[in-house]
């Protein structure tokens, strides 16, 4: 039986994302007609790849698109005056 793209699947993936191994609470899961899109940002490419690997491994029959970005870490060019 193939995995249904329903809200239980979405909740299970969210649970996986926030468990002790991955520990990413800022990843979004969006259901499309035939696929799931993982979004948000993480701190490294290695972390993004590991998240997508684990989700794909757990749900091999679901088409998962990994649209997770890496948060930029450059120095600021402006200062905000607080008043």
């Amino acid at each position: 039986m193939s995995t249904q793209l329903d809200e239980y699947l979405e909740a299970e993936i969210q649970s996986m994302l926030t468990d002790g191994r991955i520990a990413e609470l800022g990843i979004t899961v969006q259901r499309r007609e035939h696929l799931l899109v993982l979004g948000g940002e993480v701190e490294s490419g290695r972390r993004r790849d590991e998240i997508c690997r684990q989700i794909n491994e757990r749900f091999p029959d679901v088409h998962i698109v990994c649209d997770i970005g890496i948060t930029r870490a450059s120095a600021p060019s402006e200062v905000e005056e607080i008043s």
Partner: protein, 247 residues
């Protein structure tokens, strides 16, 4: 004039080493101190705390931090704090530090904070023991922040938390999880003292700017929100200067 740099939610582990360091090396040219608004680590392990110290330590400016919920994940928060403190980073939890900068006294009061929600959609200290424990924790932490803020007399007072003190800076997050991202009690504590600026993290999909009901500026400095290594805020301005020294 005092310039403080701030960021939160950097979630350092081995895979992050080296990502922030180039921008941090420039920090002393841009700011007088660095404030970290929690979630320094990914799972709150001692090993990750050491990675954080490697990346954020030894900057040549004071570094002041509060822990976040991730830093509590492995129940090693005391040891995590020890690793940070041993490296010269000040960790606040219900207490304060005062920095002497350019002849001014900058006071920072910090707590991790906790959830509970905001006016019209907040949890109550009522019912099951678990619920009373949850809201009771929130109330105790907020009281500690208020007492800390009121305990020092300085030229500029900053409140540093991980959880949000206002809903303004949560815009972009699902409404359903606001109660897990912050609480009004922190805002009330901040308004009870002459606070100049409140900094927090935790809300990765939130917004950068807000104000408490009492008018104190609030900034969400979660790294995914500010999208750079740190933000710089200028307090006690003698003249307007919108450009940083370094380019």
């Amino acid at each position: 004039m005092i310039r403080i740099a701030a960021v939160g939610d950097v979630h350092v582990d081995k895979d992050v080493l080296g990502r922030f360091r180039p921008a941090l090396e420039e920090l002393p040219e841009r700011a007088d101190a660095l404030l970290i608004a929690g979630d320094l680590t990914r799972h709150g392990t001692v090993e990750e705390a050491r990675c954080f110290v490697t990346e954020f330590g030894g900057l040549g400016v004071p570094v002041v931090a509060v822990l976040g919920n991730h830093d509590h994940q492995s129940d090693q928060q005391a040891r995590v704090s020890d690793v940070l403190t041993e490296s010269g980073i000040t960790v606040l939890e219900g207490d304060t530090t005062v920095l002497e900068l350019h002849g001014h006294r900058l006071g920072i009061a910090g707590v991790k904070g906790f959830g509970g929600g905001f006016a019209g959609a907040s949890a109550s200290n009522f019912g099951e023991r678990e619920m009373k424990d949850f809201v009771g924790t929130t109330e105790v932490i907020a009281e500690r922040l208020e007492n800390a803020l009121k305990s020092i007399e300085v030229d500029a007072l900053v409140a540093l938390t991980h959880y949000a003190p206002v809903p303004d800076t949560l815009l972009g997050e699902p409404l359903e999880i606001y109660a897990f991202l912050g609480c009004y009690q922190l805002g009330r504590a901040i308004d009870a003292a002459p606070t100049a600026l409140a900094l927090h993290g935790h809300a990765h999909h939130g917004s950068e700017r807000g104000r408490t009901p009492g008018g104190v500026p609030v900034r969400n400095v979660a790294h995914p929100v500010i999208k750079q290594a740190y933000n710089v805020y200028q307090l006690l301005t003698e003249h307007v200067d919108a450009e940083l020294v370094a380019s």
